[in-house]
């Protein structure tokens, strides 16, 4: 496996010398996400061959795997020991890799209750834009030696380095899950989700769509039943398939070909008056918006900003707007300087996140 790392490092060094942009790719499942890489003669750097679990000790709650490891393989291995990636990452395709999952930094339905992908990242091994082999963090839960580069890498869209290995905290599968459905209007649902999140209830996922609030309870059997008694609602059959459809965006709400906006905001924000259809997750903190091409990006971004958040053009459909919410000048300065330090020649996924990076 070291020869693969040497190969990657060699590619990076040559690219840096010749200023050739590299497009880092794993399974290609999230190619739609983010902006197009800028530059000419873009060279693909395929990481999928660097795969496999390096270390997994269920009783330590830690797994270390190579970036090219398929998410399905990793999750299957964890399930054998009744454990899971608690942030429930979306795959968006069978070929999805761990490296892509960390680089994209996307989390699924369980995010509001257990945390995001970055919350579970304990350490990384990576190559920077000079091809230097670096290790940050580690395989332990608590570690404050040095700046938290592992979490900085999470969600950086491959613009700061090539991920080689990632150590993650894992959690046990809940002993029991039950999904309930309750009919209500959007404003009421937002109110209820926030109210219930403030109570010691084992709610592990929420989804509001078409005047129905679907929520999942996870925990000890007695606790799940007690919560069902308190909350009421109809038990949903085929619940696992439902949550998978929300996570993978195969749910009927997500119509292929249309522009899909992802608005992340304060969970208590009342219903947004934006044209199009909405689906709400994460107890109100995540709002998906399907709109037509005429939808003005500025309007969506202003609505998100007013609610203390930001808007991402998640799938661009017919829209040509930039994927990510613009940063303030001061924040962009810091971002640019970080990029210059990690990738001095600007060859790693240039422009994938912002044109300046």
């Amino acid at each position: 496996m070291q020869n693969l790392i040497d190969q990657f490092a060699g590619t990076i060094r040559v690219a840096a010398e010749r200023k050739v942009p590299l497009q880092i790719c794993g399974g290609g499942s999230k190619e739609f996400y983010g902006n197009r890489i800028v530059g000419q003669n873009i060279c693909m750097l395929d990481v999928t061959a660097y795969s496999g679990i390096v270390a997994y000790e269920p009783t330590e709650l830690v797994v270390t795997a190579r970036a090219g490891t398929r998410l399905t393989d990793l999750e299957a291995q964890l399930h054998k020991h009744r454990q899971m990636l608690a942030f429930e990452p979306p795959h968006f395709g069978a070929a999805a890799t761990l490296g892509g999952c960390i680089a994209a930094g996307l989390s699924g339905p369980r995010r509001a209750s257990v945390g995001a992908v970055r919350d579970f990242v304990l350490g990384v091994r990576m190559l920077d834009g000079r091809g230097d082999d670096l290790r940050f963090g580690g395989q332990v839960m608590k570690n404050v030696a040095g700046y938290d580069i592992s979490r900085l890498m999470t969600g950086s869209m491959g613009t700061l380095g090539l991920l080689l290995e990632i150590s993650l905290k894992v959690l046990p599968l809940p002993p029991m899950e039950m999904t309930l459905s309750l009919q209500m209007k959007q404003a009421v649902a937002i109110e209820k989700m926030n109210l219930w999140a403030g109570k010691p209830l084992p709610i592990s996922a929420t989804c509001f769509c078409n005047d129905a609030l679907t929520l999942r309870l996870s925990g000890a059997e007695a606790a799940v039943h007690a919560a069902h008694m308190k909350l009421g609602g109809e038990e949903v059959a085929e619940a696992a398939a439902f949550w998978q459809s929300v996570r993978e965006q195969t749910h009927l709400f997500f119509q292929p070909g249309k522009s899909l906006w992802r608005l992340s905001m304060k969970s208590t924000t009342p219903p947004l008056s934006l044209p199009g259809q909405q689906l709400i997750e994460w107890g109100g903190a995540l709002r998906w918006l399907i709109s037509d091409a005429a939808m003005d990006a500025g309007t969506v971004r202003a609505a998100a900003k007013t609610a203390g958040g930001h808007a991402t053009l998640f799938r661009n459909g017919e829209s040509s707007a930039a994927a990510f919410h613009p940063l303030t000048a001061e924040m962009m300065n810091i971002h640019r300087r970080l990029k210059e330090k990690f990738d001095p020649m600007g060859i790693l996924n240039p422009g994938r996140m912002y044109p300046e990076l």
Binding site: T59, K142, N194, P200, E330, M331
Partner: protein, 484 residues
């Protein structure tokens, strides 16, 4: 800029009592919770608002004056040790809780607010701020962000980094940054994570939005005693292996239980080689279920005694012993030195054996308390600073423990930070390429290197010297710090 000129500049907008420069006024600021390191600052500034922070930083930036931020001064790694030619920026007067939003479950607070004060303000709504470092009655939330503080409940509820949503930060150049957001994520790089645990090296935090957690309906603790530390370690692995994430899981060795029992009478088994405290919290149903499980696992793991708290008073009594471990060390020994390594749990017995050997080798007693759930080990080395050479021996003992933590795949600091204390061990944990990245990150925020200079990340030169430290030991302790 000369000291008096700087004082006069600061006094154009700060009241006289907020700019200290007389040596008797500076004295209280000469150290933080790690009092073996002392240094009087040139000036202490006590701003009351973010605007004042900005103006102080701009003046210092212009005059190239180093700035060291300080919260409550409870830090255990010398991170707030002043700079002899610098301004110590005390943030204690920024102590307002600006907003508690019970519906969104957040609190917006200034950095000088005490950790526990946030939970007290949230309590009427059935909410609390989860990270609970042992110093929570005194330590400030700004300091918690700087150190990424944990606590006894962090295996289940996370560290500071998992419990904050947004920061307002002022850079050394006096620019305002808004990092994070009111939602669960933010655009761009995860600067919220980068700032957390950055030990005052990147910016000054002026406002923090924290996440509040619903208070559990009930909590109950199992106390299990073991005649062999290995069995206690296995019991921890067995609990986790059974799919249980306890709210807290703490271990104490025999030296520790004897020291605290005399002091707080927690009812610990004094025959035991180690005791485990394992807490379950949640709804009444969940707790009953989990306690039954834990009890069974402790039995199977060979516990010689198991007791479950019958009521809240007894639960607090069981915990009182663990919480009194540090003061108890202070009672049985004139001085103690607290280490903060983290190790993979499976290496516990190996590391404790090693500590015992070192203890014999150095002729110094050591008591061990262990955040067993997350592998964070606090060996407390007992020594007497009035005996010549004993502090140096203690530091060497401590350094060897940390090297052992690195060797098992762990880290030199789980929650106390590097500060001034563990710079040499950073050279062991990281290579020069990683250290260069750390310096580059610092430079991205603070190109002139004026914020908390000489802390957290050693210079490459220092590491080169550290390689020969055993030869040149004692010649020059902090080559980065100018001496006057």
């Amino acid at each position: 800029m000369r000291p008096l000129e700087l004082v006069n500049n600061l006094r154009t907008f700060l009241p006289p009592e907020a700019v200290l420069y007389e040596s008797e006024d500076l004295k209280p600021y000469e150290c933080d919770g790690l009092s073996v390191y002392r240094q009087t600052p040139m000036i202490v500034a006590l701003p009351q608002s973010e605007d004042e922070v900005i103006r102080i930083l701009r003046i210092c930036h212009m005059s190239k004056t180093p700035v060291v931020a300080r919260g409550a001064g409870t830090g255990l790694s010398g991170g707030a040790l002043p700079h002899a030619a610098g301004v110590l920026l005390s943030l204690v007067k920024l102590k307002r809780i600006l907003e508690v939003d019970p519906i969104a479950r957040t609190a917006r607070v200034q950095p000088g607010v005490r950790n526990l004060a946030i939970s007290e303000a949230a309590a009427p709504y059935g909410l609390y701020y989860a990270p609970d470092p042992s110093s929570q009655i005194a330590c400030s939330i700004g300091g918690n962000v700087a150190e990424n503080s944990g606590g006894v409940h962090c295996l289940k509820y996370g560290l500071t980094v998992h419990n904050i949503l947004q920061l307002r930060v002022v850079t050394m150049a006096g620019e305002r940054l808004e990092i994070g957001g009111a939602g669960l994520d933010a655009p761009g790089y995860d600067l919220l994570a980068l700032m957390t645990g950055s030990e005052g090296m990147l910016g000054i935090v002026t406002e923090i939005t924290v996440k509040l957690t619903p208070s559990a309906e009930k909590a109950q603790v199992v106390m299990a005693a073991f005649d062999d530390i290995r069995k206690a370690g296995d019991a921890v692995a067995n609990v986790i292996g059974a799919g249980i994430i306890p709210a807290g899981m703490e271990m104490m060795d025999r030296v520790a239980t004897h020291a605290v029992e005399e002091y707080v009478h927690a009812g610990y088994n004094l025959e035991a080689a180690a005791i485990l405290l394992c807490e379950a919290d949640g709804t009444a149903e969940e707790v009953a279920d989990e306690i039954r499980h834990i009890d069974g696992i402790m039995r199977q793991s060979g516990a010689i005694e198991i007791r479950t708290s019958r009521d809240e008073a007894e639960r607090l009594k069981f915990w009182a012993g663990r919480k009194a471990a540090f003061p108890a060390a202070g009672r049985v020994s004139p001085d103690y030195y607290c280490m903060d390594g983290t190790i993979p749990r499976k290496s516990l017995a190996h590391v404790l054996d090693g500590i015992e050997k070192l203890s014999a080798e150095y002729g110094l007693r050591c008591m061990n308390v262990f955040h067993a759930g997350d592998g964070n080990l606090h060996p407390l080395i007992l020594y007497d600073a009035s005996r010549p050479g004993e502090l140096e021996k203690t530091e060497e003992f401590g350094a060897k423990i940390l090297e052992m933590c690195i060797a098992t795949g762990g880290t030199i600091t789980g929650e106390h930070g590097v500060g001034i204390e563990k710079l040499n061990q950073m050279c062991s944990q990281f290579g020069s390429a990683e250290l260069e990245i750390f310096h580059a990150v610092k430079a991205a925020f603070d190109p002139e290197g004026l914020l908390n200079p000489g802390k957290a990340v050693p210079t490459l030169r220092r590491c080169a010297e550290h390689g020969a430290m055993h030869v040149h030991r004692g010649e020059e302790r902090f080559p980065e710090l100018p001496r006057f």
